[in-house]
């Protein structure tokens, strides 16, 4: 089973942190920093009024990271104001995804978050007008390489990331939550139709609660960037805990997963959230997701892989298999999203053609 790493203890039971030795704190700070969860741990302690009981040295590190996260959250608000301005005349509501949605909806998963970009989703037939409007307002394509451009436009579920020429911020415009080439392709129209207006706005939407959970599950288990694996699992845990107070949440979640064909990612999301973070999931729900369960051999290997790769990429959380696990999962995530002939081409290109400096 998963060893009892400090970072997991901290996320499960922040109260217990006040009894840590300085040496434990040293290690926890390093694991949390690597997992981008330092600011979150700071906030978890602060809302329990326990921050003052942390010894001064580690407390300083926690507070340093909180400053960064506060700045990121302020910048996200500003960026969304700019995106709304840019898309004002397009007439398509902006649907925020992942972190941006959590921040704007003030969900607990926004706590202590760091951002590298903002993700939005729009209907596929609006992609080009949205792209044009963003370009008119200072966003420019980042992947100038012709291969990358074609790769995104032909096979992916998003435009090549666009960067604002002045603010240097990056926006990812999606039209689906998985690439067109992936084995699973949940119907974007259904997701968009169920999206809800953000409180206090008439032009910004977020996914319905169950869709938000399913998207974060899909994101984690079909993503090739597993460096942020634990961070993404924390999102899932936090969303589940938060939404479980909605009266029919668990039933809705399993019905929706069926409808969108996302039982497998949901099965994994619940499995690892429970394993790693003790997420309270009703036993009936665990049973309901059993039809997303892969065969025992697949499950055994997937467990082996994720139990390593979901931990922070820190040497204190690694064993001799960790590097291999991350490598295999990169290939797996890519494979899940693309048919095999494409895969060979993509890896070949990534492996042998070094990108031009931009």
């Amino acid at each position: 089973m998963i060893p009892n790493y400090l970072i997991l203890q901290a996320l499960r039971e922040p109260e217990a942190l006040i009894s840590l030795s300085l040496l434990d704190w040293d290690l926890l700070i390093r694991q949390a920093r690597r997992a981008n969860l330092l600011a979150r741990i700071c906030l978890l302690l602060d809302e329990r009024s326990l921050l003052e009981q942390v010894p001064p040295k580690p407390r300083q590190h926690l507070e340093w990271s909180r400053v960064i996260s506060e700045k990121h959250i302020q910048a996200v608000h500003w960026e969304i104001t700019q995106i709304r301005k840019a898309l004002e005349k397009v007439g398509v509501p902006v649907v925020l995804l992942k972190g941006a949605a959590y921040v704007m909806a003030k969900l607990p998963s926004a706590k202590g978050r760091l951002f590298s970009d903002i993700d939005i989703i729009v209907p596929k037939d609006s992609l080009s007008v949205v792209e044009a409007a963003l370009m008119l307002h200072g966003w420019a394509a980042t992947h100038h390489d012709a291969y990358d451009q074609r790769y995104y436009r032909t096979w992916m579920h998003e435009l090549p990331p666009m960067q604002h020429i002045k603010r240097m911020t990056v926006i990812d415009v999606h039209h689906a939550i998985l690439p067109e080439t992936a084995a699973l392709h949940p119907d974007s129209a259904k997701l968009l139709a169920a999206a809800q207006l953000l409180d206090g706005y008439d032009d910004v939407k977020i996914f319905a609660p169950v869709d938000m959970v399913l998207h974060s599950a899909v994101h984690l288990f079909h993503n090739d960037q597993l460096d942020q694996g634990l961070r993404d699992l924390v999102d899932i845990d936090s969303l589940l805990r938060h939404f479980s107070r909605l009266p029919t949440f668990w039933t809705d979640l399993s019905v929706r997963a069926h409808e969108l064909g996302l039982m497998r990612p949901l099965f994994y999301a619940l499995r690892y959230a429970v394993h790693f973070l003790n997420t309270p999931v009703p036993s009936g729900m665990m049973k309901a997701t059993q039809n997303g369960r892969p065969n025992p051999l697949t499950l055994f290997f997937t467990d082996q892989l994720f139990e390593r790769a979901l931990l922070p990429a820190h040497k204190s959380c690694s064993d001799w298999l960790t590097g291999t696990a991350r490598q295999i999962l990169y290939v797996r995530a890519t494979w899940l999203r693309m048919p095999s002939f494409l895969l060979a081409r993509h890896l070949f290109h990534k492996a042998f053609i070094s990108p031009k400096p931009e």
Binding site: L22, H61, W64, H314, K315
Partner: protein, 314 residues
């Protein structure tokens, strides 16, 4: 116990195995290295720095190693690791010690946020500090090296740390980085100064580091009141000239030279306002170090401050 308590071979062995816990200013760095030139540099320039007990809390865990690739047989390299992660591209092996210095600056400038951090040299005399923010090439480090060899205390030659809570400057005395001609200029200026071996062909040209004065290291816990913001500019043949700079302009220029002004948000704005308010701000052009020393010696702190209007509405 200071680094000097270890013999060179003890130091080398310790750095190779458990590493040392080195105290610089208010930070503890756990440092490991297998590279002999780094061990020598530490023995020479960090002799007077305290060693903290082993296995305590360290702010930064760093190591300098030689990457295990094919190149090591042809062009040996050095790698800087922050807690096991590569931060910079590898550099030629003989640049390992300068790389340690740059890496230590990186550790502080990318993590510390209870201070407003300015890319500036800081010196103190008579209880008042001058910060000298400046882009590379302005002669900031040369001037700083000269001043600390003429009775000024070194707080830092790269990082001004202004504590947000009270506006005080926090010392971080470390070796002073000198480039190209400045190395010989300071050697001649102060023949007793201790220097690390010169390293040629770095991205900054030829560099060498000058050991911080022992007194500055011993007083690393003494925070200081800021009195002057001075933008130095070396200009060959120029007569030394101190020119008053409008405070609003100084505000923007110091912000431009800050690592985390923008990150600190409103707190940063307030800290910067207080900083500028507490300071007399100048542009300073010079060519002769002796003239500069004289002009710095005649600096007087402002009689009183808070002469601006400030508002924070709603």
């Amino acid at each position: 116990m200071n680094v000097s308590a270890l013999t060179p071979s003890e130091l080398k062995l310790r750095l190779k195995t458990a590493g040392i816990y080195l105290q610089t200013g208010s930070f503890t760095t756990h440092l490991k290295t297998t590279i002999p030139s780094v061990a020598e540099g530490i023995g020479l320039l960090y002799a007077d720095y305290p060693l903290v007990e082993q296995d305590c809390f360290a702010d930064f865990h760093i190591s300098l190693t030689r990457p295990r690739n094919l190149r090591r047989w042809f062009k040996p390299q050095a790698l800087f690791l922050f807690d096991g992660n590569t931060i910079f591209k590898p550099l030629p092996l003989d640049q390992a010690f300068p790389m340690l210095e740059w890496g230590l600056n990186w550790c502080v400038s990318t993590h510390v946020n209870h201070c407003l951090m300015i890319h500036a040299a800081v010196v103190e005399k008579g209880g008042f500090a001058a910060i000298m923010p400046a882009p590379p090439g302005s002669g900031k480090s040369t001037l700083c090296a000269a001043l600390v060899n003429r009775g000024w205390r070194l707080l830092s030659d790269e990082l001004a740390l202004i504590r947000v809570s009270d506006g005080k400057l926090i010392p971080l005395p470390r070796p002073v980085s000198l480039k190209n001609e400045s190395i010989e200029i300071i050697r001649r200026y102060e023949p007793n100064a201790i220097f690390s071996r010169k390293v040629a062909d770095t991205i900054k040209g030829t560099v060498a580091h000058m050991k911080a004065p022992a007194d500055s290291i011993a007083r690393a816990a003494e925070a200081v009141q800021l009195a002057w913001v001075i933008f130095p500019k070396y200009q060959a043949g120029a007569t030394a000239c101190l020119e008053t700079l409008p405070q609003s302009r100084a505000f923007m220029r110091v912000a431009d030279n800050s690592f985390n002004y923008s990150l600190l948000g409103l707190q940063g704005f307030k800290a910067m306002t207080n900083l500028i308010d507490a300071s007399l701000c100048y542009d300073f052009t010079y060519s002769k170090l002796d003239d500069a020393i004289e002009i710095f010696g005649a600096l007087k702190p402002q009689a009183s401050h808070n002469n601006h209007t400030y508002a924070n509405e709603l």
